[in-house]
Symmetry: none
Subunit: 414 residues, 2 copies
């Protein structure tokens, strides 16, 4: 049983085929949540799950659950997976690797006629990225009771289309009632999305927890005016104020190292005309830290600096926090199962904290949880340059296989 | 003759009636170039010119010329006017004031039987605003030979309708050949579109020239990466670099006062996702100055600061100049005629340089030219909130009357 290995060729081929959905000319993917590309990826995944003999359920958030029976039919299932949606300019590994590796675990057990004590559940969560519909990790957030389903349904994208309407448009408003109590634990394989493993030449990241994440929406309002005749001293330039805040956000991140990150990822200018002083700028701030107290200090610094910048430039500021996930620690038992699987296979490993949010962060609040990281090229993700090696993907999937087997238990007779 | 004054009630009534064409619910006007509203405004203007005894000509760009004969029939005409087209959300004074004030000059001379030595030409130029068909100041640009007529005809609006086709649709593709050599000089009355006159309580701006204008397109390129796991020290954040340049552009404007303005009006972020470090930001820079040498220094400062910011942040910079109009000095004689008319009427006046572009900027390249500014409320234009007082409009028209009379000469016998 310890020698059991997944079919690396099949896993890699699945990643390639999934990567053709929403493929971009530059070699990446654009498969944002609830687009036609997301629908096509979901359809392909479900067809593969059914081929693998799984019974598929879809809940009202569009989360997909594919169950493989265990000997103890009614026992809670050991669950594994990730998400199939992507950023607008993304790679083929972020999310899809975790989903397809979990499916590969089921396929491998099928190939070898292995029956687990507990059932297995392969899960793909809806809208993990949050780039089209904020907040991110929406499907797992509703599943774990962190988010209100009705409020998520009402969330609109920049064109005013709501999450609920788009979920129905792509045909994934399911009516299966799936409860957290049906799951025993959660394992998620993911690319690191950072440079540490690759730089160290370490194969496996044993993820012991995740950074806290706080998201803010800011709107700076001044006054539109003609760029020619309006004297410099009389301007109320919203973009100038926003630019000062962008620089301040970077300073705040640097001031709270180690373990901190601070980013302005999205910014929109109104009226956005070459010879008009911008009267309104809307933008986002993303603050992360391993330590909750330090993260609160970052939030205070943001509020103080943004307010003083806008006061100095005679601008109005609207600052709202839209998401706040505290730092968290994963389950020691599940983490030990991951560590043990990596060690047993002779893979190099290190413990680390996830800088990114993952569905596992929601699930950890309700279920014993662990994550497995593998290196990605240059630490790059959320980019069409995102890449990971075949060898590392296979190693990660084998660690997932044995961590899941450890938790699910294998019938002695098999 | 020095006591001659225009009929203020008639001028104000004309502005009100013209303002009914393309009137918006919010009290502004939407009379974009070559729309049905523009046609209706042209028809009304021409009917008034004919009632005033003028002979009307229309050239192939749809520019309208209404001539009042002088004693020296073949002499070049003293010309005055502006434009009747508007921004999509505009007021009733931008352009229309200059056209109707020039018509009021003719009507006033008719009322008092005044015959000028030189003929007068009231002119309304086509598509000054450029918001539907770029570039702006199109009709005067073709008339003065700066723009190519065929290229302007081929310019399309956002619905793909061309300038030439729309000009024919509204019936204003004229066949009159009007040459610059038929004109002696150009006078244009316009609202300031800035706050200076109103703030000072000055009635008349004696415009001595126009700011130089230099436009730049910049693209800053870094590397998209995940906002969570990417260490602050390893980022190539294009928005951070762009934000530093936005602040630098403002510093450059302030450092080159007086007579300088520096604006970033348009900025677009890629991929523009809240949890992705932006890899590319494209934005514009608008640099204006009264002095060509100082403006060149602003351009040098922009290039130097942008390059050093991008070098420090490990970003690539692409900076291109896309427009360069040198500062203009209007004709000293025409400017003196405006100044003398304001002083003779006991009006408060100050010399100033136009920050915005006007048809006069094209005409100044070929003819002795001057402009007259009057205050507008809050310095606001290109907005439905644009407003000017009856008193200021009348004062400006009386200055135009006497500046034109000074240049045209009055027959001693009258």
């Amino acid at each position: 049983m310890n020698d059991l290995r997944i079919d690396g060729g099949r896993l890699w081929d699945g990643l390639s085929r999934m990567g053709e959905i929403g493929a971009t000319p530059a070699g990446g993917v654009n498969r944002q949540a609830l687009t036609d590309g997301d629908r096509a990826a979901r359809d392909l995944f479900i067809s593969w799950c059914r081929e693998a003999g799984c019974s598929v359920r879809i809940d009202a958030s569009g989360n997909i659950f594919a169950r493989r029976a265990g000997r103890r039919g009614v026992a809670p299932a050991v669950a594994a997976g990730s998400h199939l949606d992507s950023q607008p300019a993304a790679g083929r590994f972020d999310g899809a690797l975790g989903v397809l590796a979990a499916l590969e675990v089921v396929r491998t057990l099928n190939d070898h006629g292995v029956v687990t004590e507990r059932p297995l559940e392969v899960v793909s969560w809806t809208n993990e990225e949050g780039c089209r519909f904020a907040p991110s990790m929406m499907g797992s957030g509703v599943f774990t009771g962190r988010f209100d389903a009705a409020r998520m349904d009402a969330t609109a994208d920049t064109e005013g289309r709501t999450f609920g309407a788009e979920l129905e448009r792509i045909g994934f408003r399911g009516d299966d009632l799936v409860s957290v109590t049906e799951l025993d634990s959660w394992f998620e394989l993911h690319i690191e999305q950072g440079p540490v493993l690759e730089r160290e030449g370490t194969a496996i990241g044993v993820v012991t927890g995740a950074n806290g994440l706080r998201w803010f929406d800011l709107v700076v309002t001044g006054h539109d005016a003609h760029a020619g005749p309006t004297p410099m001293a009389e301007r109320r330039d919203a973009l100038l104020g926003a630019a000062r805040i962008v620089a301040a956000v970077n300073r705040i991140g640097l001031a709270h190292l180690p373990g901190a990150s601070a980013t302005v990822g999205s910014l929109a200018v109104h009226p956005n005309s070459r010879n008009t002083i911008p009267g309104r700028v809307a933008f986002t701030v993303d603050l992360r830290h391993q330590d909750e107290t330090r993260q609160a200090a970052m939030k205070d610094a943001l509020e103080t600096e943004a307010a003083s910048i806008c006061a100095a430039d005679n601008l109005e500021l609207d600052l709202r926090e839209i998401a706040n996930q505290p730092p968290l620690r994963f389950d020691p038992g599940c983490v030990a199962a991951v560590r043990g699987a990596a060690a047993a296979q002779g893979l190099s490993w290190r413990e680390m904290v996830s800088g990114a949010g993952h569905d596992a962060c929601h699930l950890a609040a309700r279920l014993p949880t662990a994550m497995i990281f593998i290196p990605c090229e240059g630490g790059v993700s959320h980019s069409e340059q995102e890449n990971a090696t075949r060898e590392d993907c296979i190693a990660g999937a084998n660690v997932l296989l044995h961590a899941v087997l450890k938790r699910a238990g294998v019938h002695a007779g098999c």
